[in-house]
Symmetry: C2
Subunit: 351 residues, 2 copies
């Protein structure tokens, strides 16, 4: 590996400077991404055509000195493979044509076979690894079972999550049946991504933060833990580092850090020094700049990078990132400034 | 006062059972509210017609054994009085016709005079107090300066808050100018509500939780503290108890409790026992049932009430409430079950 800073930071090994990548780095803020997407016709075709998914995965690496690539895909490929009929319209968000409406719908769900049902993802991973040629590591990913369940029951994005919450409050066993199937599906999907070449894994729990503390443990974190355990069992010493990221989980960082993962993703509401004090050196920390800072001036971006590096302080185990995906309206020039600032200004914090 | 449980709980005095009221208790889940609103024609007319605002304020008290009334109004009456042109469309949410687009727009803002510019609110407060005839106390309220600022800059509800955040990151002085004017406006507005008859006050900081920890202190909590201080100075011993509520502020409870208020409102992501351990007995706690529990069965509602009462445990200073406003789709029958369950099941927790 020519640049293994990212993997070293996840292992809390020494690095020359803090590694950085950006959630949704292959995305709409890049004109070349918009051009490829226009060529594909729509978002899902882009996801399902390995050559195009590979192309957009690599685009940000050509512009910026990023320390990791992340597979271009969508967390809803699994519900799609389970037969729920995914469509993604720009500005509207994802829609599932056949949301889960009954216990029978959930009983009838089959766990997809990653190679036969999601072969386009595995093919993209293989292609990206070939093209990357070990310049930087490739991150594979999936949505958390809870987050996938919210979309599968609500039929799309939600504000109040009333349908899925009615299930957890009134039919907890039905919720557990769905989440168990999703945990099995996600574990198999991530293991297949590793077999295809993914060198680190991230689980995105976008909606764990809408749960009560107890339900977060029961319905979200518990299933992420099961996935990590399944990967340990199935991949043994080949199990790559896993990053768990729940948005809005500032209250529960200690619990997440104890779930068997190598790193915890932090949104921007969390103070990095506070997080480090609470978690200690058990795991690495990834994050946590407010994506909105990238709307500000270059001077302000640098100032915020400095603040976050200082908050983490000296020592091992920090991967710089935003606290959430980059917004489509951001000027790529500011991403350039961010990446350069992280590399330059972090040197004094390392031996 | 015939029933002063709510005020006693805020003062951490002994009560016979735990008082309960419900955020947005005068709202669309009640058929009689929908009828009055239909009669008014639209939401804003309902707010601006004291007789109708009084009527809907009292409606939930006729059905349920609630321990407090809350003025029917909207947090955006202040931006409206500042000339931004409020409209509220059902299902779309609030819109401000003339959002703030420049430093000059902010410099030109005048702090409204509550009696002349927001007289319909003061008239509603006086009318409600007359009609309530001291059965239960009346809560007055306002939005926090930060929350008002987000609407005034974004022009309505927002997902990413990019415009207001660009201001705090690039022009912090401009943000402070706006927030200072809003703090003065809110303090005067709340003082006028007290003069008109409000017996407790609540400040709703719906969007403080989208800030970083440091910016929450600088741009949201700091201005709520200024308001409490202004009320102390202006009202002296007549200053009624103040409840501060920031959604998504589980990480910052200790800071909020130290802001000079008598009570902290808690959303449903917070564990009440954990909150009490962290805050101690400095202030009362209000909350914190997930509003979605009201979609579940009556048995499940009672179970959740029991869990929350047990989490708070014995002792003084708990006001039962939801962790956010009640949803329009809730069956009023379940509210009946909730209110009765709180009163009955809380008796063993009091002397």
């Amino acid at each position: 590996m020519k640049n293994d800073r990212f993997l070293r930071a996840l292992a809390r090994a020494p690095v020359d400077c803090t590694p950085v990548w950006i959630m949704r780095q292959a995305g709409r803020y890049l004109p070349e991404y918009r051009a490829t997407r226009a060529r594909a016709g729509d978002f899902l075709t882009l996801c399902k055509t390995p050559e195009l998914a590979c192309e957009v995965t690599l685009q940000p690496l050509r512009r910026f000195d990023l320390d990791a690539a992340i597979l271009f895909s969508d967390i809803l490929t699994i519900p799609d493979a389970m037969g729920l009929g995914l469509s993604v319209e720009e500005g509207v968000g994802p829609r599932l044509e056949k949301p889960l409406r009954s216990r029978a719908d959930i009983e009838n769900l089959a766990v997809p076979d990653p190679e036969s049902d999601l072969g386009y993802v595995m093919e993209a991973v293989r292609l990206i690894r070939r093209e990357l040629d070990d310049r930087v590591p490739l991150i594979g990913f999936a949505g958390s079972p809870w987050t996938l369940a919210t979309y599968m029951v609500e039929g799309g994005s939600s504000k109040e999550f009333s349908l899925i919450k009615k299930i957890i409050y009134d039919e907890p066993e039905t919720a557990h049946l769905l989440l168990s199937k999703l945990a099995a599906a996600v574990a198999a999907y991530l293991a297949a991504q590793v077999a295809a070449g993914a060198q680190a894994l991230m689980i995105f729990d976008t909606w764990g933060g809408v749960l009560t503390s107890r339900d977060y443990e029961n319905y979200s974190l518990g299933y992420m833990r099961k996935i990590v355990n399944a990967l340990d069992r199935d991949l043994k010493e080949d199990r790559p580092p896993v990053i768990l990221f729940t948005k809005g989980a500032g209250q529960w960082l200690e619990k997440i850090a104890s779930a068997g993962c190598e790193a915890v993703g932090l949104d921007w509401t969390v103070d990095l020094d506070d997080a480090r004090n609470r978690i200690g050196d058990r795991v690495a920390l990834q994050g946590n700049m407010d994506p909105n800072v990238l709307y500000a001036s270059q001077g302000r971006v640098r100032q915020e990078v400095a603040r976050i590096l200082k908050q983490f302080g000296s020592g091992r185990g920090h991967v710089f990132n935003l606290g959430h995906g980059i917004h489509p309206g951001i000027d790529p020039e500011n991403v350039q400034v961010l990446v350069q600032a992280v590399h330059e200004m972090s040197i004094p914090f390392h031996d």
